[in-house]
Symmetry: C2
DNA sequence: AAGTGGTCTAGACCACAAA
DNA sequence: TTGTGGTCTAGACCACTTG
């Protein structure tokens, strides 16, 4: 009740105080929180202001609201994990290490059907296949294998990827609307082991990302990190 | 303009239409979107309604707003990844496989300082150490090593974990307010290899989760999945 | 039938930043 | 100084759902 009070707006204060009671366990799952008109009285404000705070809590998944019944603290079940996936040069710089990029190979070629699990196009369309290596502090950091749909990003065909990595370029170049990550552990294949200077069979963390715009798939990238040197970290709070 | 129209409320329609133009690239990064008063005219509604839609877009990270200047499409840089981490029995059932649980070991003992990287307590406090195995369709699915802070969850000391896994029990029992995941690849250790019936050294995906309530750390769990049989999948859209 | 939340209005005042 | 967004009000009507 006395906890949060600063340069916050009123709806933020209401949100914070209700959230605090839920997260502290004072209002456990299933508990009915005060009606809007009660909070309206309690805070001496209009219903819109209370409603704004409670609508936030619904989006955060902390409460659910039923007409005629009231608002109830949800039973936490599904945890929603939020993770920031950085652009690799940024990621390395954030670690305070020098970043270095090395192009391994680049090839323009028609789409083949065995590209299918990575990029979903029709046969024969032009694509760009790029493999490269990211280094941090002089050591191999990440091996990148990328396919780019040239129909979606024609400019990529005439861009020089020998100095700058394609990922950063694409980020600034192409609007994207959806993406999907697959994260798994694998034993290093021969090419990845070579590029990362690892013994073949070393456990590696593999992140595959497919990116779409409203028209088609733009790119697929497979990032292979030495498993013992890299980890994803995700912080989150109850339902957020 | 004609795209989205259904049982949606007006502010949802405005949000959807503006979002569509941003995601499609029609309004590229840096573009100034119409002022509130312009959208107010365009949709024939009040400013509150427009403001609600645009405030959503700010929280989604699609636009940023500056007083006196207007609202601008953001430059997409950091991708926010949202992942649903299920309770393991739920996860297995969602795959359509039979779920089975096997307790491997359970021990009540005082906290030692080498528990430190997993659980952050003061020496000597009572904890519960549980190792168990989750099976899906009769095959090993996940090896679990868990520490529970008994001061935070005293009820755990008198609960029977030989039938039901501690994770599900804790979820329904203890309100939590924050958590942190670490995801990495490792070569299977001896105990995990035994439990999962793998050759030692096989690449495994390890997910470590620390969970706190407002008072203290509640639990640490290390989940080891066979790397070739398991992957995390995360879908998301631009900035969401 | 009654009470809840969902949505919207037509104003208002203020803070802030650019001109 | 001016125009923008940030916030809030005091109503209103409606949909839904429970009793």
């Amino acid at each position: 009740m006395e906890s949060t009070a600063k340069g916050k707006s009123l709806h933020e204060r209401i949100l914070g105080e209700v959230e605090g009671r839920i997260l502290s366990g004072e209002w456990p799952p299933g508990h009915r929180i005060p009606f809007e008109h009660e909070l309206t009285e309690q805070y001496g404000c209009s219903r819109m202001t209370v409603n704004k705070a409670l609508s936030e809590l619904v989006k955060k998944g902390l409460i659910e609201r039923r007409r005629r019944s009231g608002s109830f603290v949800t039973h936490p079940q599904v945890q929603s994990l939020v993770m920031q996936i950085q652009d690799i040069p940024r990621e390395v710089q954030a670690l305070g290490l020098d970043y270095e990029y090395r192009l391994v190979s680049i090839e323009k070629r028609p789409y083949r059907k065995n590209d299918r699990p990575r990029l979903d196009l029709v046969e024969g369309e032009p694509i760009l296949a790029i493999t490269s290596c990211h280094l941090a502090g002089g050591l191999p950091f990440c091996f990148e294998e990328r396919l780019i749909n040239l129909a979606a990003v024609p400019l990529a065909a005439s861009t020089d990827f020998s100095i700058h990595p394609p990922g950063s370029w694409l980020l600034g170049q192409v609007p994207w609307s959806a993406a999907e990550h697959h994260i798994r552990a694998v034993s290093a294949g021969r090419r990845a082991a070579d590029a990362l200077d690892l013994a073949p069979g070393t456990a590696c963390l593999v992140i595959e990302r497919r990116t779409w715009n409203s028209e088609a798939q733009i790119t697929h990238v497979r990032l292979t990190y030495p498993g013992d040197r890299h980890q994803l970290v995700a912080q989150f709070s109850h339902g957020t």
